[in-house]
């Protein structure tokens, strides 16, 4: 029964998260470029937004790597360890904060930004619930 605990929905969600994040990153970057052309976007406001976007990308890559690789394990079996999953959950908090930044505290929040970030937050929320559930199943 320990195999069932490696929840397949969680894995699927991680894949979806990864693909969606790539799209999210490219879309947000393109929109920042668009905003800097169309609106008045001075450098002191543009730099933090771009920096935080790249930090978020790095954080996301790390988080998903942790979540995937440690879930798969080197033996090819699905090893279930709660430590990397717990670390991944903690990193999710960071990603959530950054996503909230892009939703609320960005220099220009367009309707597209709202939609993208809302979807990302929903994904994170679902992921977190499933991760908590998975960790609780081990403990």
């Amino acid at each position: 029964s320990s195999y069932q605990l490696s929840s397949v929905p969680l894995q699927i969600l991680f894949y979806i998260n990864g693909i969606y994040y790539i799209f999210y990153f490219l879309a947000t970057l393109a929109m920042i470029v668009y905003k800097s052309e169309v609106f008045s976007y001075p450098d002191d406001f543009l730099a933090p937004d771009l920096a935080l976007l790249f930090i978020m990308a790095i954080l996301e890559v790390l988080r998903l790597y942790l979540a995937f690789c440690f879930l798969r394990g080197s033996k090819g079996n699905l090893t279930e360890e709660e430590a990397p999953l717990g670390l991944s959950l903690v990193m999710t908090v960071g990603s959530v904060i950054l996503s909230v930044y892009f939703l609320v505290w960005q220099t220009y929040v367009l309707k597209a930004d709202v939609v993208l970030n809302a979807l990302l937050l929903f994904t994170y929320g679902l992921e977190s619930v499933l991760k908590v559930g998975a960790i609780a199943a081990f403990v």
């Binding site: 609106f39 008045s40 406001f45 960005q106 220099t107 220009y108 309707k111 597209a112």
Partner: protein
């Protein structure tokens, strides 16, 4: 429909108006109703009933916002009387890229300019004093400083219009500014031939003190051969002419001696009345020689002011100065250049012309007494573009013989030396013979008698010079070019008068300039063609 009347607005400077209900762009007249301005708070319901449309139907903020308030004004023409409808609605922008929120305060409004205070005044001045505003004013200064050390190795040279520098300041050519009094602050520009006349106040008592009437003032400072260099060219005195009190000019033999103003017998002599500078330059923009010719005069006790005339002319080294009437096309108002072909050569090598540019092509000049025979010799130059008519009256007596009279009239009309060729361009050189247009002569008779063998006498009574010119060259800067010149002499029969009788006939000469330019056609370059040709032995083994 509810109507909101906004209270009288106070004029606030920098604070932006964000309430769309209070914003009205067509309200231009203060305290008066603007016609067809539905948002004007000064209009009453009676005024609204007279409007035909609303010139401003909607007032919104930035349309890029996702949701914003909009004030909509319209006229309800169905109602009697027509009334204005005002609605305040929330306008939604359906675009996906509408601005949901901003965290940048000045995002959607123009930044109010900084108020200058004593702290930021210098910085504001540096930023905004130039022709262009730069966000980093220091970078501009740094660039120009970086350029000048490298330019120090580059040699400077004079360019057209640049003031000629002397050791202390600039070469001065006093000229009248605003009034006719001389101002000594007019610099002479390189290659700008100038001639000015101005009045200077001077009297016998003060003639020694005024610098500008002494020769020394004009030859004192040496001219720099190139700008910003230490190479100097001294101004030499080429000739000195002394003008006596009654206006007679005497050329002095020795022009080395500097003649300063001095008082002699209640007159002040050696006052500078005119200076003429001749500057010789090379084609590299360097001045190599400067010479000044002076006209010195004298003033007596009654004189309070003198008129000084100044002139500067530039000659390139190793060339002879040729007066141009345009470069290359003729300039309206400058004399038409004309000359002769020297005899004795099978084909013309060079055209010879009078060095006095006003004496090359001339016509009869009308004088006040209108008597042809009394006014012999008065000629007026033909200026390009100026049609002229001149004439005089000839009194014919019975005693006059035909042939001498004909010759006299021809001399009168054509002048002593009537040229054979006219320059096609204002800067045609004497060596380019093909640039000179021959003058075609025609002769017509007034009476239209086709029998050429006249027993009676034919005397010329009018000369008409017709100059046909065309616009030549580019569409935006056409140059005038003379294409054809014809000189038509009209003759009339001189009937023999009974003795004692006199007859007066008018003699006229006219110059007409006709523009025969064909309409301009814009020319386009040919489309580039792809020129692909295989080499001769491309198919070597087979062909």
């Amino acid at each position: 429909p509810p109507e909101t009347r906004a209270p009288a607005r106070t004029h606030s400077g920098p604070a932006p108006v964000t309430d769309v209900a209070k914003l009205c762009v067509c309200d231009l007249l203060v305290a008066q109703c603007d016609v067809n301005c539905c948002c004007d708070p000064d209009c009453s319901a009676a005024d609204f009933s007279l409007f035909t449309t609303c010139s401003v139907p909607i007032v919104t903020g930035d349309s890029r916002l996702c949701s914003q308030k909009a004030a909509i004004y319209s006229l309800d023409v169905e109602a009697n009387p027509p009334e204005r409808i005002f609605k305040l609605i929330d306008q939604v922008n359906p675009s996906l890229f509408c601005i949901h929120a901003t965290n940048y305060k000045e995002a959607l409004s123009f930044r109010s300019p900084q108020m200058p205070t004593s702290e930021n005044f210098d910085q504001l001045l540096k930023e905004f004093e130039g022709v262009t505003f730069s966000a980093e004013p220091d970078s501009w200064n740094m660039n120009t400083d970086a350029q000048s050390p490298s330019d120090a190795n580059e040699t400077y040279r004079y360019e057209y219009g640049v003031p000629i520098q002397t050791v202390d300041a600039f070469l001065r050519l006093p000229s009248p500014v605003v009034s006719s009094w001389c101002s000594d602050a007019n610099p002479a520009g390189f290659l700008v031939n100038q001639a000015t006349k101005c009045t200077r106040s001077v009297s016998v008592e003060t003639c020694g003190n005024i610098q500008a009437v002494s020769m020394l003032f004009y030859i004192n400072s040496s001219i720099l051969a190139v700008p910003k260099s230490s190479q100097m060219v001294n101004i030499t005195v080429q000739s000195v002419v002394v003008q006596s009190l009654n206006g007679m000019w005497t050329l002095l033999n020795s022009s080395d001696v500097l003649r300063l103003p001095m008082i002699l017998d209640e007159l002040c002599i050696n006052i500078v009345l005119g200076v003429s500078y001749h500057i010789t330059y090379t084609d590299a923009g360097e001045i190599i020689e400067a010479a000044a010719s002076f006209v010195l005069g004298a003033i007596n006790k009654e004189a309070l002011s003198i008129q000084q005339s100044f002139e500067i002319s530039f000659t390139q080294v190793n060339t002879k100065p040729v007066p141009l009437s345009g470069n290359p096309g003729y300039v309206v108002g400058l004399p038409v250049r004309a000359g002769f072909r020297p005899q004795g050569y099978p084909f013309p090598v060079e055209i010879l012309f009078n060095t006095n540019k006003y004496g090359q092509l001339t016509v009869l000049q009308s004088t006040s007494n209108q008597d042809c025979l009394a006014a012999q010799g008065a000629r007026t130059p033909v200026l390009f573009g100026y049609n002229m008519v001149s004439g005089c009256k000839l009194r014919i007596t019975a005693a006059m013989k035909c042939q001498p009279l004909t010759q006299t009239l021809l001399d009168l009309l054509k002048g002593q030396t009537f040229p054979e060729y006219v320059a096609s361009f204002g800067n045609s050189r004497a060596q380019d013979v093909l640039d000179w247009v021959p003058i075609t002569h025609f002769q017509t008779s007034e009476q239209r008698i086709y029998n050429t063998f006249q027993s009676s006498c034919q005397i010329p009574i009018s000369l008409e010079i017709e100059v046909k010119w065309t616009k030549y060259g580019s569409l935006v800067n056409p140059q005038a070019r003379i294409v054809n010149v014809t000189a038509t002499i009209t003759t009339t029969t001189l009937k023999q008068l009974p003795s004692g009788r006199e007859r007066t006939i008018p003699i006229t000469s006219s110059v007409v300039f006709t523009d025969i330019s064909s309409p301009a056609e814009p020319g386009y370059k040919a489309w580039p063609t792809i020129n692909v040709k295989l080499p001769f032995d491309f198919f070597f083994p087979f062909v």
